[in-house]
């Protein structure tokens, strides 16, 4: 035997995106757009509600974006322009190309929700990761009990998916309550905290599951109010967010206590993260 390095089987190219093309785009708010991406010469990806993908903008970089929808092989992402990559993505035209890796992460507990009432609670851009939840619930309506969506935004101009919200409000198999913090006189809807909507909707706190997404403080307020109304923290699920560079547990950025948000999350039950949510700068 001669000592030499063994011939290597190279592992899969985990960091290589698949090419996607912008099939459509639509402005949601002043700084937020929704893009629909279709695969270019590849079979696309299969997503579950709550997962995210890494979207690469040529020469600028790559960021995690929650899956806001999927149909056939396309993916829908709603992106708020806050940094270089999100700004680049928000400026893409139809036909422009990006890279997509993923999807990654543990999604919303859709299976656990079967047979239960489902309270979907969203704040601001946090409706994006919950949009596939609502669509899934409506597509499989007989698997679930009462279904409701409460949605809070800062102003009416900050709300996503206005047309769809309108459609959902018109249905009899989902209760939709929308509220804003501040409104001009053209707003005919509710004003006040999103938790004010909880008494309006139908759910049996002893047999419900809630899925909450928004900034951490909003999720905390909602989870706390759900608890006060008898929906315990083990049945309340949140979508956490941290900086991510790799999405596969290598880069270390997304650590949240012992968890890698990319791999162990982004969806966690409230009872699992409640203690950490009381620690600043964690």
């Amino acid at each position: 035997m001669t000592v030499k390095a063994p011939a290597l089987e190279l592992a899969a190219e985990e960091m290589r995106p698949l090419p996607f093309r912008v099939a459509s785009n639509r402005r949601e708010t002043a700084d937020t757009v929704t893009v629909e991406l279709e695969p270019v010469d590849n079979p696309g990806v299969t997503c579950a509600p709550g997962q995210f993908t890494m979207v690469y903008a040529y020469g600028v970089g790559e960021i995690p974006i929650s899956v806001a929808g999927y149909a056939d092989d396309t993916i829908v992402h709603t992106v708020r322009a806050v940094g270089a990559v999100t700004t680049a993505i928000s400026h893409l035209d139809v036909g422009d190309h990006v890279g997509v890796r993923g999807p990654y992460g543990v999604g919303w507990p859709m299976a656990e929700a079967a047979g239960k009432d489902v309270v979907v609670a969203a704040g601001g851009i946090g409706l994006a990761p919950l949009r596939p939840v609502v669509m899934h619930l409506l597509d499989n309506r007989d698997r679930y009990g009462a279904v409701s969506l409460i949605y809070g935004a800062r102003t009416p101009d900050d709300m996503l998916y206005i047309d769809e919200l309108q459609q959902w409000r018109g249905r009899f198999d989902i209760e939709v309550e929308v509220t804003v913090d501040r409104a001009g006189d053209d707003w005919h809807g509710d004003v006040g905290l999103v938790t004010n909507m909880l008494p309006r909707i139908t759910y049996d706190p002893t047999n419900s599951i809630s899925m909450v997404c928004g900034p951490e403080i909003m999720m905390k307020v909602v989870a706390r109010e759900l608890g006060a109304r008898g929906l315990g923290p083990d049945n309340v699920y949140l979508s956490m967010e941290r900086n991510m560079k790799c999405a596969i547990g290598f880069c270390g950025h997304c650590q949240y206590g012992p968890d890698f948000v990319c791999r162990d999350g982004p969806i966690f039950s409230y009872d699992y993260v409640a203690a950490r949510m009381r620690v600043t700068e964690l």
Partner: protein
């Protein structure tokens, strides 16, 4: 597995044999008043007659009164610079007919032979193996370097002023993760007890000139290791350390250490187990090609936790807490091991001499978690 004893005059054949078998032999050598890891052409490149003094924020090479080749502990570098390079290309992107073509370059196939890896460093390599090979995904760059690797460990014959491998259960004796392990003996004779730890090591050993080791040689090795273990520069009490740190997130000591910490990132860069990285994107001026590069990052930088344009961990207090709690506590949950191997580098290369063992003790002193 067998053990032989090689004279100082013949020790160079180890490097020659490995080079002849196609390995790129790297090991300790003196550069700019430090012992660093670099390519070795021959045994003459090893730091003969040098030792190193370590204390909080201080490192200095000193002459020994003998010509020992491994008479020092650890330098500012660790082997991770080879297995997990400070910079590597993740992705190349070409723009072709308006579309994007992505490729991950095949990592360079270098077969390294590490000469002189310490027990703590073998433990660090085992930790990074868990991160990059064994946590669900495989890092190709690491995999390529790791699989072709030949490791010659060295049992430490001295302990440095900042060493605490005994506390962390990683040394000073190499017990695992090597192909060959060397114990250097300098008394009336200068010789090396070399033991194989793998089939590859056995095969290299057979090509070395030497005599079979006897019971006396084994007991000399044991005595050297025991003496080193008895002279650790520091100690760190690891009893219940995960719970201790998880329950001490609001401990006032974090404010105290943050007042001294410069958030300079030195500790994370010299740490042999720290694995965090970030990415950089560049595009050619002609717009036809772009590159994604991975480079070492540190949880002490402000950008590290940036979210929606602002860092989650703005204060140095939060960043130091993150680093130490990760290293000594959450690492257990993530990888079933401590992230600290007790090499002491973070103490030596901290410009203000912050000492992880002292910080841990201070947090324990003000806590109710039983030791």
């Amino acid at each position: 597995m067998s053990t032989i004893v090689v004279d100082r005059e013949d020790f160079g054949s180890l490097i020659d044999v490995l080079r002849a078998r196609g390995f790129t032999v790297v090991g300790p050598t003196v550069r700019e008043q430090a012992i660093v890891y670099a390519a070795l052409d021959s045994v003459e490149d090893l730091p003969a007659g040098w030792t190193d003094e370590h204390s909080g924020g201080a490192y200095r090479l000193q002459r020994r009164d003998d010509e020992a080749l491994f008479g020092y502990v650890v330098g500012p570098e660790s082997w991770k610079k080879y297995l997990f390079p400070p910079r590597s290309t993740l992705l190349t992107v070409r723009r072709v007919d308006g579309g994007l073509v992505f490729a991950e370059p095949d990592p360079a196939t270098v077969n390294y032979a590490f000469i002189g890896a310490r027990a703590c460093e073998l433990a660090a390599i085992a930790i990074q193996d868990k991160v990059f090979l064994d946590s669900g995904y495989i890092d190709r760059t690491y995999q390529m370097k790791r699989q072709g690797l030949f490791v010659v460990g060295v049992n430490c014959a001295i302990a440095g002023g900042n060493c605490f491998c005994v506390s962390m259960g990683t040394g000073p004796e190499c017990t695992d993760g090597y192909d060959l392990v060397v114990t250097e003996i300098v008394d009336d004779r200068h010789e090396f007890v070399i033991e194989s730890g793998s089939e590859a090591g056995e095969e290299v050993l057979a090509a070395l000139p030497g005599r079979p080791a006897g019971p006396t040689d084994h007991s000399r090795v044991a005595a050297i290791v025991a003496d080193t273990a008895a002279h650790m520069g520091r100690q760190l009490d690891t009893a219940g350390i995960k719970e201790l740190l998880y329950e001490s997130r609001e401990h006032p000591r974090w404010d105290e250490v943050a007042a001294r910490c410069l958030a300079c990132t030195n500790c994370t860069l010299v740490c042999p187990s720290c694995f965090c990285s970030t990415t950089e994107d560049t595009a050619d001026l002609d717009g036809a090609a772009a590159t994604r590069t991975r480079r070492w990052d540190s949880c002490f930088t402000m950008d590290f936790s940036a979210l929606h344009g602002a860092p989650v961990r703005q204060s140095t207090r939060a960043r130091y807490r993150q680093w130490m709690t990760h290293k000594l506590a959450s690492w257990y949950d993530q990888f079933d091991t401590s992230g600290c191997v007790g090499c002491g580098r973070c103490i030596t290369w901290c410009p203000v001499g912050i000492d992880i063992t002292e910080e841990t003790a201070a947090i324990r002193a003000g806590s109710e978690v039983p030791a």
